[in-house]
């Protein structure tokens, strides 16, 4: 599904990510972990076209997408959420999701403004789909609220709904469980599995919450100072002395 080959990202003299090689199969849930500043979000940025890598290639569904502008990457089926929530502040909850639907509507300024019949039909479909997504994430009661007026947990779920609205096949979640209590993260775990099955998704996520990561991921990559120090299934990672030293800590 997704493969990165020797992806290196340098900012001036700083190498944020070095020789990253990720491989994700369809419908897998894969985790990217590591201490703060290890280059996890940079890896996300390179995959989603926010940054063009200094070297290396990103291959998605057999096609090279290295350095494509970010909207093109989304068009090919990669959606993401952000670590520091980036909702459209002055739009309502429903409108936030509808912006995600804009891509699939494939309309232009004139068709949309004149509300041509083709646009009306697409708009109706988009609204129905957006409401369904809000229902999925349990926000259908807040559809008319301003996005920023939602509590933190709901904002995170809205970001996921918005990402799903672009109809992705690969979803990248940047710290989805941040700021959640244990109960909420268990719910989130079920939720992520459910959307994976329902929308036929492949998921790559960054998370610090170890129980969460170990509970949900089938495969893990551990970064430290931009270098991949380990990869494999959660059980193996837990035993890996390098990972314990760098990140998990000695008990």
């Amino acid at each position: 599904m997704l493969r990165t080959e020797n992806v290196t990202m340098k900012f001036g003299g700083l190498t944020a990510v070095s020789e990253l090689g990720i491989e994700i199969a369809k419908n897998q849930i894969v985790g990217l972990i590591g201490p703060n500043g290890a280059g996890k979000t940079t890896a996300f940025n390179v995959i989603t076209g926010m940054n063009a890598p200094t070297a290396g290639r990103v291959i998605f569904k057999g096609e090279e997408i290295t350095g494509l502008p970010r909207h093109q990457v989304t068009r090919r089926g990669i959606a993401r959420t952000f670590q520091n929530i980036r909702l459209f502040r002055e739009l309502s909850v429903l409108e936030n999701v509808l912006v995600g639907c804009h891509l699939a509507m494939d309309t232009n300024l004139f068709a949309a403004t004149l509300h041509l019949p083709s646009y009306r039909r697409k708009d109706r479909e988009a609204r129905a789909f957006a409401l369904e997504l809000l229902e999925q994430v349990g926000l259908h009661g807040d559809a008319g609220e301003l996005a920023v007026s939602l509590p933190y947990g709901k904002q995170r779920r809205l970001e996921i709904a918005r990402a799903l609205a672009t109809r992705p096949s690969l979803l990248l979640l940047d710290e989805p469980a941040a700021g959640m209590n244990p109960q909420e993260s268990v719910e989130l775990m079920h939720f992520i599995r459910r959307i994976r099955d329902q929308f036929d998704l492949t998921i790559l996520l960054i998370e610090h919450h170890m129980q969460f990561v170990m509970g949900i991921c089938q495969k893990l990559y551990v970064l430290e100072y931009g270098v991949t120090i380990a990869s494999g299934d959660p059980a193996a990672i837990r035993q890996d002395p390098k990972v314990i030293e760098a990140y998990l800590g000695v008990e």
Partner: protein, 353 residues
């Protein structure tokens, strides 16, 4: 579609407005009528600036430039060959323009399109900048347009300007233009494309991650806004019947920006109300510029004193009502019913539509 009570209100309001226009056109004296026309033109201009500044979040200060392009294009297309010959006494007009003579409506459309083209050519490089840098770049480009117009003697008649433009900006031209602009903006703001614009305004990175081609959306918005500015400039030219490059300085952009800021950045209703308010106040306050007699003491005429009033109003808005008259809210009939002035509408009507 079932006709709802609010639709009836809207129809009634539209009918009342048309009646008002007919009555105004018949009974107003020429000065009042001219101010009324100016109101309509300012509605077009304020909406076009609000499209980039309020809806797309691009701080552009280049509006006067696009207005100038529109005004000159329309003027040169509609003036008769004889008028052109009279105007161009320093240097003759270029031959390919000398004989062109078009009716007003096609000329107005071409003026908008040429302004949109200018917007595209300037926007494509300038829109790579953001915030203050974009403001400075667009301001610079607008000045460049003005200087170019001043120096193209054989096309624009340079600093002498063009005189004797046909007076085409009548009630039945300017008001339909204003109404079309309002309708366009309302429909755009409600559409999926309008949401894309607002998404770019609120968070460019997230908008990109939603698959929106941010740069393209910005250029489209900028060019569309330039089209409207060009039309507005052309209408202004044909109202004043004379144009020269000095008309299109930064002060003109500032006046429009004043309307947008007072009305509320991102509010169509606000822009319309403020366009009326500012235009009418500009004329009503004219007495401040002349000599005044307070009984116990007299002042000499101080041209420009009325602008001080606007400075004070602007300061008041910045201090006490940062988001302007309307913020980014829009007019809806439910505003009245909530205030108890109208019966409550039928439940289930989504005011955001």
């Amino acid at each position: 579609m079932r006709l709802q009570r609010t639709h009836l209100y809207s129809l009634a309001a539209a009918a009342a407005f048309v009646v008002l226009l007919v009555a105004g056109d018949l009974f107003f004296d020429s000065f009042t009528l001219r101010v009324a026309h100016l109101c309509a033109i300012y509605v077009v201009l304020a909406l076009s600036l609000n499209l980039v500044n309020g809806f797309t979040g691009l701080f552009s200060l280049g509006h006067a430039g696009f207005m100038a392009v529109g005004a000159y294009t329309c003027a040169l297309l509609t003036m008769t060959p004889e008028q052109k010959e009279m105007n161009f006494f320093l240097a003759p007009i270029v031959p390919w323009l000398a004989q062109v003579h078009l009716p007003f409506v096609p000329a107005l459309l071409i003026a908008g399109l040429v302004a949109a083209l200018a917007g595209f050519v300037i926007g494509a490089p300038a829109l790579r900048l953001k915030d203050d840098y974009l403001a400075i770049a667009t301001l610079g480009f607008a000045e460049i347009i003005r200087v170019v117009l001043t120096n193209m003697q054989s096309i624009t008649n340079g600093a002498l300007g063009l005189k004797g433009l046909p007076m085409y900006s009548t009630t039945w031209v300017v008001w339909p233009c204003a109404a079309l602009s309002v309708a366009f903006m309302v429909l755009l703001a409600r559409s999926s494309y309008g949401r894309a614009l607002k998404a770019v305004r609120d968070d460019e990175i997230a908008a990109g991650a939603m698959g929106i081609d941010v740069f393209r959306v910005k250029v489209v918005s900028f060019a569309t806004s330039s089209f409207m500015a060009g039309v507005g400039g052309a209408l202004l030219g044909h109202l004043l019947t004379t144009i020269d490059p000095k008309m299109f300085t930064f002060m003109l952009t500032f006046n429009i920006l004043l309307v947008v800021v007072l009305g509320g950045i991102g509010s169509i209703t606000g822009s319309v109300i403020a366009a009326f308010g500012v235009t009418i106040l500009m004329e009503v306050l004219r007495f401040l510029d002349g000599p005044m007699n307070f009984g116990f003491f007299e002042t000499e005429g101080r041209p420009g004193l009325r602008m001080v009033v606007f400075s004070l109003v602007l300061m008041g808005v910045v201090l006490f009502r940062q988001r302007g008259l309307m913020g980014n809210r829009e007019f809806s009939w439910s505003m009245f019913s909530r205030a108890g002035l109208l019966p409550r509408p039928v439940e289930g009507k989504d005011s955001r539509a």
